[in-house]
Structure formats: C-alpha cells, structure tokens
Amino acid sequence: MVSLHVDVRARLGTFELDVAFEARGGITALFGPSGAGKSLALRHVAGLARGREGRIVLGERVLFDAAEGIHVPPRDRRIGLVFQEYALFPHLSVGSNIAYGLHRLPRTERSVRALELLRLVELEGYADRTPDSLSGGERQRVALARALAPEPDLLLLDEPFAALDFRVRRELRGMLWALQRRTGIPMVLVTHALSDVRELADRVVLLDGGRVVASGPTERLLAAPGTAEAAALLTGEDLA
C-alpha cells in the first residue's frame, strides 16, 4: 500500500507552515479552521508550492527533499488534485475535460476511458455538455473524474463539499467513499466540516495556525483527543 510522508516548512507572506503528517490507504482528512494551512499543505504535496525545508515521500518516490535539492514538478508526481472551485476548463466540454490528462493514451482510447469515468461518477450522457451548464454537484463529480482519469497514486481534494448544499453533500460523500474503496487510490481531503471527518475519514490530521495539533485514526482521536487544544477543535460542529 502506498503511503505518504509529509514534512514541510514553508513561509507564505507572514504565514508560517510547519507540518509533519502521514497518510496511508483509505481517506485521510486534514481538518482545521480556515487559515490553518490545510490547503497550503495540499499544494505542497501536489508540487504547486515548494517548501524551504523538509521532505515529501510517496511510496518509494521522493517528491521533495530540500536538503537534496529535489522538487519533482507537479506533472511528474502522479498526484490528482480536485480544486476547491473545481477549475474545470471552461472552453472544453465535460468529455474533453476528463480526457485532458489522458494525453499519453492513443486518441481512440481517450474517449472510451472518458466515458468509463463519466459512468463511474454517474454522469452518463454528459460528455458533450459544457461546464457552465452543470450544477455545483455535477461540476464536483466531473472534477473528480478528471483527477482520477490518469490513475494517480494519490488523490487530493481541497474542500470538496464546501460549496454544496446539505443534500448534495451527503450524496457526494457516499460516492467519494465508494470510489475510494473501489479504486483503492488513497485520498487526502481538506475540510473544515467535522461531519466530513466523521463520515469519511479513516485518519485525521488536526491543523491550526500552520501546525499539526494532533493526528491519528478518526475514531480514536474523536474519543480521546489527548490535548485540550485538539479537544476544542473536535468538539464544535463544523468550523468556520
């Protein structure tokens, strides 16, 4: 099973990120209030940001090692990322969006694979639609299919449900959980909703002020947060 080890120190303006955590199989949640550095940590894993110090290893592959001067560019990391606002290419159809990362496949296989992925996220018949004709939940599912298309070793999701209403949120959680179990691709998702953590995450990493406050299997951490700081983050319902 592919595991992810992250240990990064970086500065963004006046914000200081100093995090170390790991993610194994299943779903890991990075949970904390806004401004905790969750999304920034995700960008470092994806390679879109580069730390000052530290090391990021996925399975056997060293993706970042400040001391060795290693920084694998995002396009070679084999890590999928679902952006908070989905970032679907507005000038491309849903099918072309999903096929965008399949450039290494022969042309004829790309559309076959794109249709397969549309079926996987229950959007058959949507291939020719444009992103702006979709609802929020549909966009989210297209973004998910697009990120899964190149069969990444790891999938990152930045606040995947933040913009969705309660009903759609519940549906998509179910779909994400089923997809994870079916594909076996480990997932790391950023959220400030405790309900996401409870219902989806096998492991949770608590972040606040750019630091890891606590981490561990979800059930154990929810039952025994260990410190008062961790307990305070876990007692509220969804954080702002």
């Binding site: 994806a46 990322l81 000038h91």
Partner: protein, 219 residues
C-alpha cells in the same frame, strides 16, 4: 484610381501583424508571469515604440538596417541585398511600431486567465508548452484578438518610421498613409479624398470588431 498604395498597406500590415503574433505572443505570455526577473525593464523596452515619436523610431531603424548598419551589412553579406527603401523595410517599420499593441493586449488577456487552470493542467501531467497552447491561449483569445485588431490598425496607419526607412517610391513602398501625404503635397485632392475615406472605413471596421469583442457578444 490609385489602389496600389492601399493594397500595399494591407499587405504590409498583414505581414507585420503576423510577425507581431509570432514574436509578441511568447513575450506577452512571459510578461504575464509575475516571477519574470526584470519584468519592469522588459515592459519599458517592449512598450517604448508605442510612445516614441515615429521619426525617432525610424531614425534608430535606419541606423540598424541601413547600408552601413549592422543588420544591413549582415543582410548584404548573406546575399539578401539592400533592406532600406524596399517593401521589407516597410514591414519592419510597421512591425516595430505596432507589435507593442499586440504584446500589451495579449498580456492583459493572459493575466485574466485564473492561474488555477494551468495548475490543474499541471497536476494532470501536461507540459508547460501544451498548457500554453490548449488552456492559456484559448482562454485569453479575447485579449489576443483585440491585440491583433489594434496591431493591424496601427500598422496600416504607420507613417513616420516607414517614410524614413522605406521612403516614398510609387508602386513600391508608397503605402496608403504616405500616398495621402503625397497626393496633398501634389494638390491631387480627389486622390487624397478617396484614400482618406477608404482608410477611415477600415479603421471604423476595426473599432467595430473591438466593440463587439468588448461587449462579449461573440461572433
């Protein structure tokens, strides 16, 4: 009726616009990236022809491509012959005077494309080159097209630099703008009228295209 100057103007402007696209698009793309070292200096250098008096521009060009100039001598050594007072010189003058319009407009277009699109494409394994061609340029097309229209219009209107490096040779380097000046000097007001009206109509057509682009009604 003296149609040759107008045809020449369109032909010179079309070539100048094409060269501006080839040279200017990559420059605009580079300038749109905030991490480019010396960005302000590049911006000044590239936009300078926009604000310099055209005769100053023409003077510099003459020094560069004239028979004694480095580019002029190099061209003659390669057997390409003399550059000054040829239609090629008119294209060079129009290109230098009009390319900044393309760079500026395309740069604004590129800057309006949210960086997350390129980031998403990177995480999907695509090269920077592929991303520029398939994401950035198509999403910035409005700015690029506006730049093409402005560049073309400026190239058609080029006078000062052109007259200095290409001269005023009837049937060879006498473009529309120069032909109007020439006609007025010679007292041929009917010719001047005809050329002025046609050039005005062309300029109005370019503005119409720009207005439609600005309104976002598409084509």
């Amino acid at each position: 009726m003296p149609l040759h100057p107008l045809v020449l103007s369109l032909w010179v402007a079309a070539q100048a616009t094409l060269v501006s696209l080839v040279v200017g698009l990559p420059l605009a793309w580079l300038l749109a990236r905030k991490e480019l070292p010396g960005r302000d200096l590049w911006t000044v250098l590239i936009l300078l022809p926009m604000v310099l008096p055209p005769t100053v521009l023409g003077y510099y060009l003459l020094i560069l491509i004239g028979r004694g100039g480095p580019v002029g001598q190099w061209a003659e050594a390669l057997g390409l012959g003399r550059i000054v007072f040829t239609p090629t010189a008119a294209v060079i003058a129009a290109f230098v005077a009009s390319a900044p319009f393309l760079v500026r407009s395309a740069q604004a277009g590129f800057e309006q494309v949210a960086p997350t699109y390129a980031e998403a494409a990177r995480t999907l394994g695509r090269s920077e080159w592929a991303i520029a061609l398939t994401i950035t340029v198509p999403l910035a097309w409005r700015g690029i097209l506006a730049g093409v229209a402005l560049t073309f219009a400026r190239a058609v209107g080029e006078f000062g630099a052109t007259v200095m490096v290409a001269g005023n040779l009837a049937g060879r380097t006498r473009t529309g703008s120069i032909a109007i000046y020439d006609a007025v000097q010679a007292g041929r007001m009917a010719d001047a009228n005809f050329l002025a009206l046609l050039l005005t109509a062309m300029a109005a057509a370019v503005l119409l295209v720009l207005a439609r682009l600005g309104r976002g009604t598409g084509w």
